[in-house]
């Protein structure tokens, strides 16, 4: 295949030799620019540069004439109307050119593609035969250049395709459609299957390179492609690696059509699913690990909270047992005292049971697998559970929820439990007061990368000293399990990568918790 550059030089050389000229040029738009001297023979560089610059400045008259006429003939450069600037004539004199003929090259569609000029050192009026030869050459030149241009375009496409083919992250394989043998395969395909490029060429795409269980399906696919029944065959399948291992891939096979419409080679684009699956699995495994650790941490913490809390009623029971025995040892059994002791022991067992119930509600098999969730929905759900007791205690529940709150990472049931705990604490704080009634306000708002829930009440509040001890397991008021609930809530929120704290404030307690936005 001749390149465009070769073709242009061939035209100049042929023109100069055919008409016995001394030198010649071919002006042609190079890379979409103005006409430039794209090929020449026997012309000095300074002269070529001079005329290229003239073209750029817009050397209009002669070019316009050339567009109209067949050709421009300069019999004597020293005395020619075509040279409007004396510099132009001087350049010819200095080069030593006396006469010239410029011929148009017209494309098959009739457009002027360019011009070629032949120069002589002597004054000359070209004869008819010379002009006829130049016209013939112009025709030949047009088809020569057009062919070279087409070739160039093909080569560009080819180069581009080759670059894509070589560097594509997906595997690309070209398969001869009758015998299903590999014609060519890119690096990605070869790496996927563990072969070198030389090894893979000639291999049977199904019998040699496909996992046995997937062969039959592929034969059918190839048949349907060949028959034209389908344009694309897109299975998820296994190739067979050189080392005998399967490779899961997503294949997109289609065939190249030849000019006459016949079926050409198959082209397969192959995406490696094994690698994709591997990295997905790895990420999942890592996440699992984190959550597992988190779960264990939470489980440990909850277990120690549970052990501590449940130990108190358990420890009290055998002591009451001794009291009961002492009462029985008396000559006169005081039934009222004994009944009182039995009541207390019953109460203690129930209290222990309640603590376990509370932990269950919070912990729910220890699963902490946050998913994107609607925080407002969890808040509303907890509020709805407290409406009845709010009415009974004359406590107003006020919800001020940000409707535009984005989703957060959380486990809905845990967040509800935490909300319930905060609401119960608020209710108890209000109920402890002398005056009846009060209000609890719940707000949600967006912060930096987090959503925040604030629960405030009209109870006595928590001062700075109490705030310090509130989450301390031993510093908490254990009578009604306030400390336990807060401690578990904080542990749970931290397991969700959030935080929970109390804002020292008197009167009226203010609790906040935050969860990361999904």
């Amino acid at each position: 295949m001749k390149s465009l550059d070769d073709a242009l030089h061939e035209v100049v050389d042929t023109a100069v030799s055919l008409v016995d000229a001394d030198s010649g040029t071919l002006r042609f738009p190079v890379n979409g620019s103005n006409l430039k001297i794209a090929a020449q023979r026997g012309c000095p560089d300074w002269w070529v540069r001079y005329w290229d610059e003239r073209s750029e400045q817009g050397y209009g008259i002669r070019d316009a004439a050339l567009q109209r006429n067949q050709r421009v003939v300069i019999e004597d450069a020293f005395d020619s109307p075509w040279y409007t600037d004396p510099m132009d004539r001087d350049s010819m004199v200095q080069f030593g050119i006396r006469s010239a003929v410029t011929t148009q090259i017209v494309s098959s569609s009739g457009a002027v593609m360019g011009f070629f000029t032949t120069h002589w050192r002597t004054v000359r009026r070209p004869d008819k035969k010379t002009l006829e030869v130049l016209d013939l050459l112009a025709n030949h030149a047009a088809s020569l250049i057009e062919r070279a241009q087409a070739n160039q375009a093909l080569r560009d496409i080819g180069n581009r395709y080759q670059a894509i083919f070589d560097s594509a992250p997906a595997g690309i394989v070209q398969v001869e459609s009758r015998h299903l043998r590999v014609v060519e395969a890119n690096g990605a395909f070869c790496r996927m299957l563990g072969y070198s490029e030389q090894e893979v060429v000639g291999k049977h795409i199904i019998n040699d390179l496909t996992w046995p269980q997937d062969r039959q399906k592929d034969f059918l696919g190839a048949k349907r492609l060949t028959s034209g029944e389908i344009d694309h065959y897109r299975p998820v399948k296994r190739f067979l690696r050189k080392d005998g291992m399967p490779v899961w891939v997503e294949l997109d096979a289609s065939h190249l059509k030849t000019d006459d419409g016949a079926v050409g080679d198959f082209i397969g684009v192959v995406t490696n699913l094994t690698e994709q699956r591997k990295s997905e699995e790895l990420a999942r495994a890592r996440l699992e690990e984190v959550f597992h650790l988190q779960r264990r941490h939470t489980a440990n913490e909850l277990a120690s909270v549970l052990a501590h809390e449940i130990n108190q009623p358990l420890a009290a029971m055998p002591i009451y047992g001794v009291v009961a025995r002492r009462l029985l040892e008396k000559p006169e059994i005081d039934r009222a005292d004994l009944s009182n002791v039995i009541d207390r022991m019953q109460g203690l067992s129930l209290q222990a049971g309640e603590i376990i119930q509370k932990m269950r509600g919070f912990y729910d098999c220890g699963k902490i697998d946050p998913v994107p969730m609607d925080l407002n929905a969890a808040v509303e759900s907890a509020l709805s559970m407290m409406v009845a007791s709010g009415r009974r205690l004359k406590i107003d529940l006020v919800a001020d929820l940000d409707e535009t709150l984005p989703a957060v990472w959380g486990v809905q049931v845990h967040i509800e439990q935490i909300m319930l705990n905060l609401l119960r604490n608020a209710f108890e704080a209000i109920a402890e007061q002398q005056s009846s009634g009060g209000a609890v306000t719940v707000r949600t708002a967006v912060g930096e990368g987090v959503a925040r829930v604030t629960v405030s009440d009209t109870g006595p509040g928590v001062d700075a000293t109490a705030a310090e001890r509130l989450f301390d397991l031993l510093g908490s008021k254990k009578v009604n399990g306030l400390g336990v609930g807060l401690r578990i809530s904080r542990t749970l929120i931290e397991a969700h990568h959030g935080r929970l704290w109390v804002q020292p404030h008197v009167p009226g307690a203010i609790f906040h918790f935050e969860l990361p936005l999904a």
Binding site: A316, I319, Y320, R326, L327, D472
Partner: protein, 139 residues
Amino acid sequence: MSDSARSASNPTVYVVDDDLVIREAVCLMLEHSALHPEPYASGEAFLEGYRPGRPGCLLIDLWMPGLSGLQVVRVLRRRHGDLPFVVLTGSASSSLREEAYSLGAVDFLEKPVDGERLLACVRRALTVAATATVSGPAA
């Protein structure tokens, strides 16, 4: 009965535990066992209410808000000399147990504990208290 006679025949058991449930149960048991308990919800409250010179013993929790049980024992010893004591705790490490014994603990009990055993320990501590000479503040 003179004041000192009452004290000797009915010594005081100072019950120091921040947990109301335990405090109430233990005091009730001691009362029904012919002993004289005095409940305190914290170490600070006990140190404030304690009057030296009366025979008795201390039944004390280790982990409480504020002063810990062993801190209370140290302060008491510095101010008033030794008072026999029994530790009753929810959980404790072996090093804490050793520390308690080195401070002179009569016994070290972990909750939950058999009530009769607790009672026996308290009685033993009171025996120690009766035989020991109540000394002045330690040098």
